[in-house]
Amino acid sequence: MKKILVIITAVFFASMLFLSLFSRDIHNSGLPHVSASRVQRAQFPFEYTDESGEIFVGSESKLAITKEQFEHGVYVLYKDEKNGEIRDFIRRAVIEAGRENGGFVEVVSGLSHGDKIVVSSDRELCEGEVVVRD
């Protein structure tokens, strides 16, 4: 009986030690792995007239995403607390598109300067899920 108890105790504490060390890696292997970068800016032309009525073409720097990102949808990475820890979550951004120029689409609203958007992921993403940032 004592031998069985010793074995059960050893197995219990060894399991808890193993899980303490590796449960996070096991959990993370089941999560989507994403890479993210800050929303970039691109140059967009605009027209303006001076006092004499002459039309000029200028360019301004605005927040932009690629056409491909606009077509597939954009996920924004943000941090929030879950179970006592800060983790990375994703939310789908509702983007109001503006001008197009050179493969970029102007972001009129839906993203802010400093937002990190998902550039690539190893699987399909869902709104509100926890992800692992590479």
Binding site: L5, F12, L19, S20, S23, H27, N83, G84
Partner: protein, 253 residues
């Protein structure tokens, strides 16, 4: 009459055992269906659980071992030494033992705060080391041990520590196991001290985790409670033969 006693005690045992059975069964249910989702949420999605588990193990083990190092010489002194006020001091110990935690926790907090030990592991370990319960139990048990062995050792050596370690401690084995069990269970279950003396979550214990289980996502309460039961249950199964002897033999003297 014997059958009636057996039925009554079986029913009483069932009443006491029912919450434990309910905890274990509920830990394997999710939305009314059998599932390991609770254990998955706890072990693979609630990583604050692990530091708290190991804190409980470390605090309980350290307190138990250091308490033994304090209790045995103290009880030996009470049983063998002759000095004025010995009986009064023993009565004082018994009164201290009977004081509820709520009476001593505020002076403990003030003392620890003044020593700068709040939010450190010593805030849990230091006050728990000096426990009157173990001294009183061991002192009672020592009255039943064979004094001729102590007298024989006194002929060989003057060292009190050697007499205690070679003549007394081997005879206290049964009582030591019983005291270890009680002290470990008491330390394992403490909730108020970690909640009041510790601020950092990484220093808190598993009992605090269970108290705050509703703050965590998923059905983590019952799986955590099951894991909480296991170490004390294993310790009890190791030492249960010595428990009854350790606590009653002293009383028979």
């Amino acid at each position: 009459m014997k059958k009636l006693n057996a039925v009554i005690f079986t029913l009483l045992a069932a009443v006491f055992f029912l919450p434990i059975i309910a905890t274990v069964v509920l830990s394997f249910l999710a939305d009314g269906m059998p599932s390991l989702q609770g254990y998955s949420d706890l072990l693979f999605d609630c990583f604050v659980f692990y530091p708290m588990f190991w804190n409980s193990v470390i605090y309980a083990a350290v307190i138990t071992l250091v308490q033994l190092a304090v209790i045995i010489p103290c009880a030996f002194g009470f049983s063998q030494a002759k000095f004025k006020g010995k009986n009064a001091l023993l009565v004082f110990y018994i009164v201290l033992m009977m004081m509820p935690l709520q009476v001593t926790i505020l002076p403990n907090y003030i003392g620890l705060r003044d020593m700068g030990l709040i939010d450190t592991p010593l805030a849990i370990i230091l006050p728990a080391i000096f426990s009157p319960f173990g001294v009183v139990v061991m002192n009672q048990y020592m009255k039943s041990i064979d004094n001729s062995v102590i007298e024989a050792m006194r002929l060989e050596t003057n060292s009190v520590i050697r007499i205690m370690l070679t003549a007394v401690v081997p005879q206290l084995r049964v009582c030591i196991f019983a005291v270890v069990l009680f002290v470990f269970a008491d330390c394992w279950n403490m909730v108020e001290q970690p909640m009041l003396f510790l601020k950092t979550d990484s220093l808190k214990t598993l009992s605090v985790f269970i108290t705050n289980a509703q703050n965590y996502e998923g059905n983590v309460l019952f799986p955590a409670a099951v894991i909480f039961i296991i170490p004390v249950l294993l310790l009890y199964l190791f030492f249960n033969e010595n428990l009854e002897k350790g606590l009653t033999l002293g009383g028979l003297s």
